[in-house]
């Protein structure tokens, strides 16, 4: 293919995954990224793993506030309100 010289290597591609997800790649780069993933099994798996990683992050329970911390802050709130 004539665009061979402009191809992304796998090593370059893994650094562009977030830019790709965020829609931050310039159009040409975006097309090269997708063309690469289409014919490279390793990068296809890698991209899927990054998607899975993001999905798992989204399912993490959001940190709970320790009860003591909340009470202290509410205490401060009452102090403020009575000023």
């Amino acid at each position: 293919m004539s665009q061979d010289t402009a191809q992304l290597s796998c090593q370059e591609l893994v650094e562009l995954v977030t830019d790709y997800f965020e829609g931050a790649l310039p159009p040409g780069e975006h097309a090269r990224f997708e063309a690469h993933v289409e014919r490279c099994r390793g990068c296809g798996v890698y991209l899927e793993q990054m998607r899975t990683t993001i999905r798992l992050l989204g399912h993490l329970p959001v940190d709970e506030l320790p009860a003591g911390a909340e009470l202290e802050l509410l205490e401060a709130f009452r102090g403020w309100r009575s000023c």
Binding site: Q11, E22, R41, G42, Q49, L56, L57, H59, L60, L74
Partner: protein, 211 residues
């Protein structure tokens, strides 16, 4: 994301009226993130918690002056950032501002170079030397896998940890994170990318153990 169930205007009104439930709701929503962001600037968890507590007081005292030119969330995080910077200065901490302002200065690859063939390789330059293998679907929903993700986040440098927590765990938009942390678009992406890459690596090393 607004605090669940009420609009920002309603929330503000309730806070100004001294409604404790409204304050409790706000605290539950933002306190963990405030502490995480404060950790970018101060060196201990205890100091970060103090910064967050100080922030809440400043928020309450500033409520009447808040004009809604930014979102309440952005405003709260700006206050936090200012207090955290002051605190860091007072503690004589050399501020790792470059972590936010120039994270790309120190290169950090998503994967070790030995995962790839040499960039000068005659036939497959920079191609996979060790290809990633698909993960077993059933392992992904296991509680242990969740624990691996949580541990990987905790192990990140503070700026990366704050960005990935806000974006991917809490579901903030890129713009909200940029505003709260005063980050450029590019720098936010760099931090997010590094953080996600490391969490993926932790998952790969955990899920690949049995194969």
């Amino acid at each position: 994301m607004a605090v669940a169930g009420s609009t920002e205007a309603q929330l503000l009104e309730a806070l100004r009226a001294g409604d404790e439930a409204a304050f409790a709701q706000l605290v539950r929503e933002y306190q963990p993130s405030l502490v995480r962001v404060a950790r970018i600037y101060v060196s201990t968890q205890a100091a970060a918690e103090e910064v967050a507590a100080e922030t809440w007081l400043a928020v309450l005292n500033g409520l009447d002056r808040f004009e809604g030119r930014s979102s309440l969330k952005t405003w709260i995080f700006r206050i936090l950032t200012n207090i955290a910077k002051t605190r860091a200065q007072r503690d004589g901490r050399t501020l790792p501002f470059s972590a936010l302002q120039d994270p790309g200065r120190v290169p950090e690859a998503a994967l070790d170079a030995d995962r790839f063939l040499d960039p000068q390789h005659p036939r497959w330059p920079g191609h996979w030397a060790v290809r990633p293998e698909p993960w077993p679907e059933d392992a992904l929903i296991a509680a242990e896998t969740q624990a691996v993700v949580a541990e990987a986040i905790e192990a990140l440098p503070p700026a990366q940890r704050a960005v990935i927590s806000l974006r991917d765990v809490e579901g903030w938009s890129s713009e909200e994170v940029r505003n709260a942390l005063e980050l450029s678009e590019t720098n936010q992406r760099v931090l997010l990318h590094r953080a996600r890459s490391k969490v993926r690596r932790a998952l790969e090393s955990y899920l690949g153990e049995d194969t």
